[in-house]
Symmetry: C2
Subunit: 336 residues, 2 copies
């Protein structure tokens, strides 16, 4: 039942010509007579012939497939990234193999290997939080595979990168808090081994420095998920009367802390202003609407795959690696 899929050989046999002739006829090679070409093309259309991408990939040493590894798919930012990648890749004739590492190093490694096995033409990767060794990445680039890091970049590897300007975004939003009168701003930070964790903390710090506000260690809390907000519940509530602003490293934590404050009688933003990072859809649902920093996932995805395909189609260009930085914009709303 299965094998009604016609190959070039089937067409050749049916028409009494050779496979090479069919192949050439289908791509309008000048060596083929008008008559044969027409016969072949007509027949191919009638049996709905489609070239076998596996055979093509094997022969031409390229699969027109791109490999993607992300920490998780169920995440608004990453899903917009995928969407951007898909939209552009689709138009260029590339298909996507998508994997998630679930923030596990081992799974990232295995997924990467599987993508290599499938001979993807290039890679788009956002690193897992728990990746501290990088030989799997090095291995891939050494094989000559173009690789673009996205958002969670690996600074130990020389490649193209697409990132948001985390420093600037954090600076922007912290500056805004200061301008509206905040002086003691709590920062809910991401782990410092992540670039985004460090950059956003830096943006926060420098904005304070710019306004001659002393940086105080007790106002920096490593706390980047709603459950960690809950875990730090007492500490935050103890601190609350002494602070006038909060800058959280992402929107989920921002809203969690905002709701924690509200449930305990604090008014946002009158008592304490709250700002997040990422512009997740939940920012618009929360009341007050969350002031946050927009991160252009869709555009970043598109740009990353653009850079990747650029390299694919100009294999031996001498162009050095680029880091494309997307500037962040403040989404000024009601929480700060």
């Amino acid at each position: 039942m299965k094998h009604n899929i016609t190959s070039i050989n089937d067409i050749a046999k049916a028409l009494g010509v050779s496979a090479s002739t069919v192949s050439r006829a289908l791509k309008d090679h000048p060596d083929i007579s008008e008559e044969t070409r027409a016969r072949v093309q007509a027949f191919a259309r009638s049996v709905n012939y489609r070239p076998n991408a596996l055979a093509l990939g094997l022969k031409q040493q390229r699969s027109f497939t791109l490999g993607i590894i992300l920490p998780e798919i169920v995440h608004h930012f990453f899903s917009t990234v995928i969407s951007g990648i898909e939209d552009l890749a689709y138009g260029k004739g590339y298909r996507l193999m998508i994997c998630q590492s679930n923030e596990e190093f081992e799974r990232e490694r295995i997924n990467l290997q599987a993508l290599l096995d499938h001979r993807v033409d290039g890679l788009l990767i956002s690193m897992s939080k728990n990746t501290f060794q990088f030989d799997h990445f090095e291995n891939a680039v050494q094989q000559g595979l173009p690789l673009v890091f996205l958002d969670r970049v690996c600074k130990n590897i020389e490649t193209d990168r697409v990132v948001t300007d985390d420093f600037q975004g954090a600076h922007l939003v912290t500056t805004h808090l200061i301008r509206t009168g905040c002086r003691r701003i709590l920062h809910l930070a991401a782990p410092q081994h992540l670039v985004i964790g460090r950059k956003r903390l830096q943006g926060y710090s420098e904005a304070l420095a710019d306004h001659d506000i002393v940086l105080s260690d007790e106002l920096i809390l490593q706390c980047d998920t709603p459950s960690q907000v809950m875990a730090n519940r007492e500490k935050i509530l103890d601190m609350a009367p002494t602070i006038d602003g909060i800058f959280a490293v992402n929107d989920f934590s921002a809203i969690a802390v905002m709701q924690l404050l509200q449930e305990n009688g604090f008014v946002v933003p009158a008592d304490i202003a709250v700002a997040g990072f990422g512009d997740d859809p939940i920012a618009l649902i929360a009341r007050p609407k969350l002031t946050t920093v927009e991160q252009k996932g869709y555009d970043m995805g598109r740009e990353a795959v653009r850079m990747l395909i650029e390299r694919l189609e100009n294999p031996n260009t001498e162009k050095g690696f680029e880091t494309k930085t997307f500037s962040a914009t403040l989404k000024l709303r009601d929480s700060a």
Copy 2:
């Protein structure tokens, strides 16, 4: 630089044996002497040999790749579905090619063709809203490709299906509204050409009937996005004083209408109770927290790929097609 990827032939040459011997040695074929086997395996490991999945796929007529088509990726439900699919497929050694149709028929068709070209072993599809002809699906199943429809099923095609019990979910939530005293319940409905649109309306209708409440046409509004809520703003506000409950076909619309009401002085749920469908994360962010129906995207994804792989690994089973229905559960919260 590129071609340091070793093949079986490279190993064969390096060791002075034939490719067949290498192939057999690597898979512990009994025809190969202990000594040769050890030599080959040691060498293969030392050069980090990995089989070429393209060649394997071509030879064995299966690619260990599954094709996915979804209406959109940036959508909490669909991204959880992908996540469930990925987690299970990963464990079983299958990779995923993921496409989005963006709710366009043409793009769905082209994506499907591309997946066929890449010789995926099976398909997982959630139909686009604008698909009204089905020959591309028929074509695929006729080629012998296992296909599982997910959530947005196509009833014209005989295949396996995985769905949520939309009727039951809608019935459940409407019944709850009625039990808490609602009598005039507005239903924000999805387009009626979609199965989910019809099923959820039916659940609503029957729940009313069960309690001897007459169904009134003016209480059914085709309106399934926040922007449509805005477009129907006046109509809804005019109606508001005359109703005591709203059942929206999804959470985004539910929250949009809830906030519209709140901004115009209505109290939820005291004046008007509001319930949604889907249990999107935003349901927990909204205030009051949204009462809604949980839709188990992750489990549905896992189940769909389980059914698919089951068919793949038992090709000529006579087992008839199944429709796996996931019962919906009420997430009782504060808005109703």
